[in-house]
C-alpha cells in the first residue's frame, strides 16, 4: 500500500511535466492548428539556457525566469518567421509538419553545438530532502521536495493560465482568434499578433517544463525531451487537443498509469511506452475527439 501510494505520487510528479508540455502543445494547436513536433526541443534548448545562466552565478529561479523570457521572445520570432508563411487554409498542413520537424532536427543539433554533448547538471531549485507523511509503524509515505515542487509549479501555472485566458482582455482576444480567426479579425482583433503571442506563451511554458525535468534528474543532455514529448503527445491526444484542462489532467493520468505499469506489469518491462500508446488508441477508437474534446459536425 505504501509502495502503491508512493508510485502514484511519483506518477503525478512525472505527469505534471507531461501535462505542462501538453499544455504548450495544445496552446499552439488551438491557436494555429499546428502540431508542433519541435516543442520538446525548444524546451530542451531553453533548459540549456537556464543551465548556462546558473553557471554564471544566477540563482536557479532567476535563471528559469530569464530563460522563460528568452523563450517567450524566441517563440514569437519562430512564429513570425517560420510558421506565419504557412498559415491560412489553402496551405498544405503537411508543409507545416515538415517545418516543425526541420526545427526539431535543427534545434537539437544547435543545442549540441552551442552547449556541447556532455551531460550537464541543473541544480534543483528546492533542497533535495524528503517529507514523510502519515507516519506509522512501517515507515509512512515519503515525498521528496522536488516532487512537491513539480506539482506546485503545475498548479501555479494552471491558475496563471486560467486567469490569463478567462479574466483578461488579452486572453479573451486569444480565445476569440482560436475560435474563429476571421470573425476575430472583423472585430478588430489583430489575429496575427495573437497567434504570435500563443507561440511565445507556449515556448515559455515549455522552458519552465524543461527546467523542471532537468532539475529533477541527475544530468541532462540534448535528448532530454525526446521521450517526454511522446508522453506529452499522448496526454494532449487523450485530452482532445483543444482542451487545456484536458491536457493537464490527462498528463497526470498518463504519468500515474505509466509509473504503475513500470512497477507492477513485468511483462512490459522495457516497453512501458506501450501503455500511453494503448491508452491513446483505446480512447480515440471509443471517443474520436478525445476525453475532453468538442464534437465537430462535418459538412459535405
Amino acid at each position: 500500500m505504501q509502495l502503491f501510494v508512493e508510485q502514484v505520487i511519483n506518477g503525478i510528479a512525472n505527469g505534471a511535466i507531461y501535462g505542462a508540455l501538453a499544455l504548450a502543445l495544445v496552446l499552439i494547436f488551438r491557436s494555429t492548428g499546428v502540431l508542433n513536433f519541435a516543442q520538446g526541443e525548444m524546451a530542451m534548448f531553453s533548459t540549456f539556457i537556464t543551465w548556462k545562466l546558473t553557471t554564471g552565478g544566477l540563482p536557479v529561479w532567476g535563471a528559469i525566469l530569464i530563460s522563460m523570457g528568452i523563450a517567450f521572445i524566441a517563440g514569437a520570432a519562430i512564429e513570425r518567421t517560420l510558421i506565419r508563411p504557412f498559415e491560412g487554409s489553402n496551405r498544405s498542413p503537411l508543409n507545416v509538419v515538415i517545418v516543425s520537424l526541420g526545427m526539431f532536427l535543427a534545434i537539437n543539433s544547435l543545442a549540441q553545438l552551442v552547449f556541447g554533448t556532455d551531460p550537464q547538471r541543473l541544480p534543483s531549485p528546492v533542497p533535495n530532502r524528503r517529507l514523510t507523511i502519515l507516519e506509522s509503524s512501517n515507515g509512512g509515505i515519503n515525498i521528496t521536495y522536488p516532487t512537491l515542487m513539480l506539482i506546485a509549479v503545475l498548479i501555479v501555472e494552471c491558475i496563471a493560465l486560467w486567469w490569463l485566458l478567462q479574466r483578461t482582455k488579452l486572453g479573451l482576444k486569444l480565445r476569440a482568434v482560436a475560435a474563429d480567426a476571421d470573425s476575430a479579425r472583423l472585430h478588430g482583433i489583430k489575429a496575427g499578433s495573437m497567434l504570435m503571442f500563443g507561440w511565445a506563451l507556449s515556448a515559455a511554458i515549455g522552458a519552465l517544463a524543461g527546467a523542471m525535468v532537468a532539475s529533477s534528474r541527475v544530468g541532462f543532455d540534448a535528448s532530454l525531451m525526446q521521450t517526454i514529448i511522446v508522453y506529452a503527445f499522448a496526454a494532449a491526444a487523450l485530452g482532445g487537443f483543444d482542451s487545456l484542462w484536458g491536457a493537464v489532467l490527462c498528463g497526470i493520468f498518463v504519468g500515474v498509469a505509466n509509473s504503475l505499469t513500470v512497477q507492477y506489469v513485468n511483462a512490459l518491462d522495457g516497453i512501458e511506452l506501450v501503455m500511453p500508446l494503448a491508452l491513446i488508441l483505446i480512447v480515440l477508437v471509443v471517443m474520436p475527439n478525445g476525453l475532453f474534446g468538442k464534437r465537430t459536425v462535418e459538412r459535405v
Binding site: F29, L35, L82, P85, F86, R91, S92, L94, N95, V97, I98, V99, L101, G102, M103, F104, L105, A106, I107, N108, S109, L110, Q112, L113, T117, S223, Q226, T227, V230, F233, A234, A237, F241, D269, G270, I271, L273, V274, P276, L277, I280, L281, L284, V285, P288, E298, V300
Partner: protein, 378 residues
C-alpha cells in the same frame, strides 16, 4: 458512365476540388475528361528526360565507386519507402509518422531470417513484404476510427515504440538489439557485378517494379477510390466507394512498400539496428520529408525527394570541417528552406513551370489546374 469516371463527374456537382490526376494518360475519350491534353513539347521533353535519366541510372554504378553506390542505393530504398507513404498520405490522405516502424519490421524480418534461420537474402524480401503488409492491415483497422493529426500521433507512437520492442525481444551480437548478417549473404548472384553494383541493380529493379505498380494503382479504379476518399470521404461513401476497405487496403500496401525498403536496407547497410531509441522515428521523418520535397501525390515525387534528401545529407555532413555536429542543423534548415521555396515539392514546381510553358507555346494546351474542360461531354 463507367465507374472510372465517377469521381471526376461528381466533383463539380458537389462543389469539391476536382480530382487532379496526373501524368500521360492514354488518349481515350474517357481519359480526356480527366487528363488535359499535354502539349507536344512537354511530352517530347519528358521522353528525352526519361531516357537520359534511365541511362544515367543504369550507368551510375560503373562510374562511381562502392562508396557512392551505397549512397545511391540508400536513395533507392528511401524512394521505395517514400512511395509507400505517398500512396497512403499523398493519395489517400492518411498521415502516418509510423512508417519507420514498418521499415524496421521489414529490416528485422530479413535480418532474423538470415541470421537465425540461415535463409539466403533474396527470398526474405518477399517474406518481409508480406509480413509488413499483414501488419499494416492490422494497424489500418484502428486507423479507420482515428484520423488526421490523431492518426499521425498514434503512428508516431508506433515508430517510437518499435525500437523498445526490438530491444526487448531481439538479442544480437553482445546481447544488444543489433543484427549483422554475414557478408556472404548478400554476395552478387550475377558474375561480373561487384557486390555493391549487384545491391544497386537489385534495389533499382525492385524500385522500378514497385513504382510501375504504384503508377498503375493510382490511375485505376482503386486509385480513384483512394483519391476520392482523401478529398471527400463522405461524398465518396455516398457514391458507393468502399471507404473502409479502400483505407485499410491502402494502409497494407503502403506498409508493404516500407517493409520492402527495410529489407533492402539490410542488404545495403549490412545491419538491422534497434539500439537507437529514435532511429525509426527519424526514418519516418525521412520518408515524409522525401515525399513532401519531391511532391506529394505525384509518382516521381518520392524518388526525386529521396535523391535530394540523400545527397543533401551526404553533402551537409562534410560541409564544415570539424563541425560535423552541425550537419543536422543545416539539414533541418534546408528542409525548411525547400518547403518555403517549393511548397508543392520539386515535381509540383516543375509541373507548374511546364504548364506555364505549355500555355505559352500551344494555344490548344490547357493548364492542368483546370482538368475538366467544358466541351468534354460532346
Amino acid at each position: 458512365m463507367t465507374t472510372d469516371q465517377t469521381g471526376a463527374d461528381l466533383a463539380p456537382a458537389l462543389g469539391v476540388e476536382p480530382l487532379v490526376v496526373e501524368d500521360e494518360a492514354p488518349r481515350t475519350a474517357a481519359a480526356q475528361t480527366l487528363f488535359p491534353p499535354i502539349p507536344a513539347v512537354v511530352t517530347r521533353t519528358r521522353i528525352v528526360i526519361g531516357v537520359v535519366l534511365a541511362a544515367a541510372a543504369l550507368y551510375a554504378p560503373w562510374y562511381y565507386g562502392p562508396d557512392i553506390n551505397r549512397v545511391l542505393s540508400q536513395a533507392i530504398y528511401l524512394a521505395i519507402a517514400a512511395m509507400g507513404l505517398n500512396l497512403l498520405t499523398g493519395f489517400n490522405g492518411q498521415v502516418s509518422i509510423g512508417h519507420g516502424a514498418f521499415f524496421g519490421i521489414g529490416a528485422f524480418t530479413s535480418a532474423i531470417l538470415i541470421v537465425d534461420h540461415g535463409w539466403t537474402y533474396e527470398p526474405t524480401i518477399l517474406v518481409s513484404a508480406i509480413f509488413t503488409g499483414l501488419f499494416g492491415l492490422l494497424v489500418g483497422l484502428p486507423a479507420l476510427r482515428v484520423r488526421g493529426l490523431y492518426l499521425a500521433l498514434v503512428t508516431l507512437g508506433l515508430a517510437v515504440l518499435f525500437p523498445n520492442v526490438v530491444q526487448r525481444f531481439v538479442k544480437g551480437v553482445g546481447g544488444v538489439a543489433l543484427l549483422r548478417p554475414p557478408r556472404s549473404a548478400f554476395s552478387s548472384l550475377i558474375g561480373g557485378l561487384a557486390d555493391d553494383q549487384w545491391a544497386y541493380y537489385l534495389s533499382l529493379v525492385i524500385m522500378v517494379v514497385l513504382y510501375i505498380l504504384a503508377w498503375n494503382l493510382v490511375r485505376g479504379r482503386v486509385g480513384r477510390a483512394m483519391i476520392a476518399v482523401r478529398d471527400q470521404e463522405l461524398a465518396a461513401a455516398t457514391v458507393g466507394v468502399p471507404v473502409a476497405r479502400t483505407k485499410v487496403v491502402t494502409f497494407a500496401i503502403s506498409a508493404a512498400y516500407a517493409g520492402v525498403a527495410g529489407s533492402l536496407s539490410v542488404m545495403i547497410d549490412r545491419l538491422a539496428d534497434g539500439t537507437n531509441p529514435i532511429i525509426y522515428f527519424q526514418r519516418s521523418i525521412e520518408f515524409l520529408v522525401a515525399m513532401v520535397i519531391g511532391g506529394a501525390a505525384t509518382i516521381m515525387g518520392p524518388a526525386v525527394g529521396a535523391l535530394i534528401l540523400v545527397l543533401l545529407r551526404r553533402n551537409t555532413q562534410n560541409l564544415i570541417e570539424g563541425k560535423e555536429i552541425l550537419a543536422p542543423a543545416i539539414y533541418g534548415a534546408s528542409l525548411i528552406a525547400i518547403v518555403f521555396v517549393l511548397p508543392e515539392g520539386v515535381v509540383g514546381g516543375v509541373r507548374r513551370l511546364l504548364a506555364a510553358l505549355g500555355r505559352r507555346s500551344s494555344a490548344k494546351g490547357r493548364p492542368p489546374t483546370h482538368p475538366i474542360p467544358d466541351d468534354s461531354h460532346d
